[in-house]
Amino acid sequence: MDATPFIYILDVFTIPNVLAIVAGVIAGLCIGALPGLTANLGVALILPVTFSMDVTAAMLMLTSLYTAAIYGGAFPAILLHTPGTSASAATAIDGFVLTQKGKFNKALRVATFSSVIGGIMSAIALLFVAPPLSLISLMFGPSEYFMLAVFGITVIGTLSSGNVTKGLLAGLLGLFLSTIGADIDSGYFRYDFGTFALQSGINFVPAVIGLFSMSQALLMCEEARKSIQQVRLKGKDEWRFLPTMKELRELRGTLARSSIIGIFIGILPGAGGDIGSWVSYNEAKRFSKTPEKFGKGSIEGICASETANNAVTGSSLIPLLTLGIPGSATAAILLGALIIHGLLPGRTLFTDNAHITYTVIFGFLFANIFMGIVGMAIGRHMSHITRLPNYILIPMIIALSTVGAFSLGNDMFNVYTMFFFGLLGYLMRKSGFPPAPLILGLILGPIAETGFRQSLILADGPVVLYILSSPISLILFAATLLSVISAVWMEYRRS
């Protein structure tokens, strides 16, 4: 028997890796539990802390934070009827009804168990689906990489906003910003406006921190004194670590179905945990023997939402690790983190860097279990954290964003960049432009430009015909067209 998987598992339990997972899970739980703070913000804020870390520990910390933040959103959803993240909105429907009935422990243990199962299933999917899928990346040439970047930006652009035009414009703005700095071939400084600091291009990390963290702090300023009123937890609901056998029998179908739904939706580029949880909630209601209980404290409803949103986390890493196309906005930031730590998505992650990749996947699996243990231990008390008023959180986010941007090369220009993107992100979010496509455009810009320029050189005639002459490019082009047409159609129907 091949002993390699055991070596990877043992590597998860080295002191730096375990500490990274513990820190990621605790930070994720706190960030997820704070309404308004998202997994994107958490990963963006923690990213600078990982610069000096070993790449495996860094990726373990970030992925642990991601899954724990999604789970952490369930606490305020259940205890305060205020979803911590958008992915927990469906959980609030039945979770808070149970809290009002004094059965908050039951709601918390179902949410915890479901999140852990969803997370584990997605880690298993990541383990078995990603390596064979990465073989596809070996068939990619310049035209395929160009179309892949176009496809990724288009899908995120069309799905992350209610307005297709604005989503695509944001993605294109990211692509344009990626052209700032020295040209890859000639070394000519493009759009540097005579500024020395712009000659090396726009750094992705301060842009991410500004767009997701600083802009969130500015949005929160609009309701600076807002804090959530505590709900008195009453009743003698028995605390249990695991669901009862009766509960498990009731939930087993929902657990399986919601895991599959979450994994499938996570693989789709751009579709995040919120879509997964709502689709899963609706399906659970459709398949339930007692659909009338939904909305009145159904544990199937909580289970469906929480299983799916955590199943999305691992599976959204599948297209990220194999093709470099993130399955969610948070995965887009993780793509930047991978590149910063010197790793490139594709087959090499599963061959040359297999040690790192598999240790991270096994560590992600362990993080989901650890997240459940910590969550059940402190779940009831999380309502205290969720009540921190915005005026406390705002200076915290601003200070951490500033120090995080500065720590990247100890350069004040990165702080100014972060502030620029913070204001830009705030104005974008106020006017309905999603920031996620911009970040993806910024990350994928160099890949898209390299592919485009190499295609120009290789094309014996019109470059468009050359790009579309490859079957993979043609499929990607069709998928791009389909995503735009379907999004425009849905928008038309809504209006």
Binding site: T165, L169, F176, S186, Y391, V415
Partner: protein, 147 residues
């Protein structure tokens, strides 16, 4: 939002013209990709502009937060405060600048619990020192005012 969309579209189109002109200075293939991207941006800006004349066709989910123009005041005041602190940071040092920023933000954000706020900020600064300076070795800026 219709007016905002129109303004944004016009601003993008206006910015696209000089940016396009700048690409003509780039040597050879260095201008190809920026030209493609700027063209696509301009086309979408025209779409946004045209659609702003048909409000019924504008999708939902148009912007986060309050739509009251007065809602901009506090975020912009907070941004100005923070930016001022950052600009003075190389002179007064990181921690004094952050402490001063937090003190002004207390007023800007109309906070009501001074003791809780002070303790939270102190804990935050200690945490930043422990994590970034002590553990990660980030040399946060010292004051140069008296150098």
């Amino acid at each position: 939002m219709v007016r905002v969309n129109r303004l944004v579209a016009l601003a993008i189109l206006l910015a696209a013209v000089p940016l396009w002109q700048m690409t003509s200075e780039f040597p050879g293939p260095a201008s190809d990709f920026p030209k493609v991207v700027i063209s696509a941006i301009a086309i979408l800006a025209v779409v946004l502009l045209v659609r702003s004349f048909f409000p019924a066709r504008i999708g939902r989910n148009e912007g986060e937060g309050s739509h009251d123009p007065r809602a901009f005041l506090r975020p912009l005041a907070a941004f100005a405060t923070t930016l001022t602190a950052v600009l003075f940071m190389p002179i007064v040092g990181f921690f004094p600048a952050m402490a001063a920023m937090s003190a002004v933000l207390f007023l800007v954000l109309d906070a009501d619990n001074r003791r809780f706020y002070t303790i939270a900020i102190l804990l935050l600064l200690v945490m930043i020192y422990m994590v970034f300076v002590f553990a990660l070795g980030v040399p946060l800026l010292d004051a140069t005012l008296f150098d």
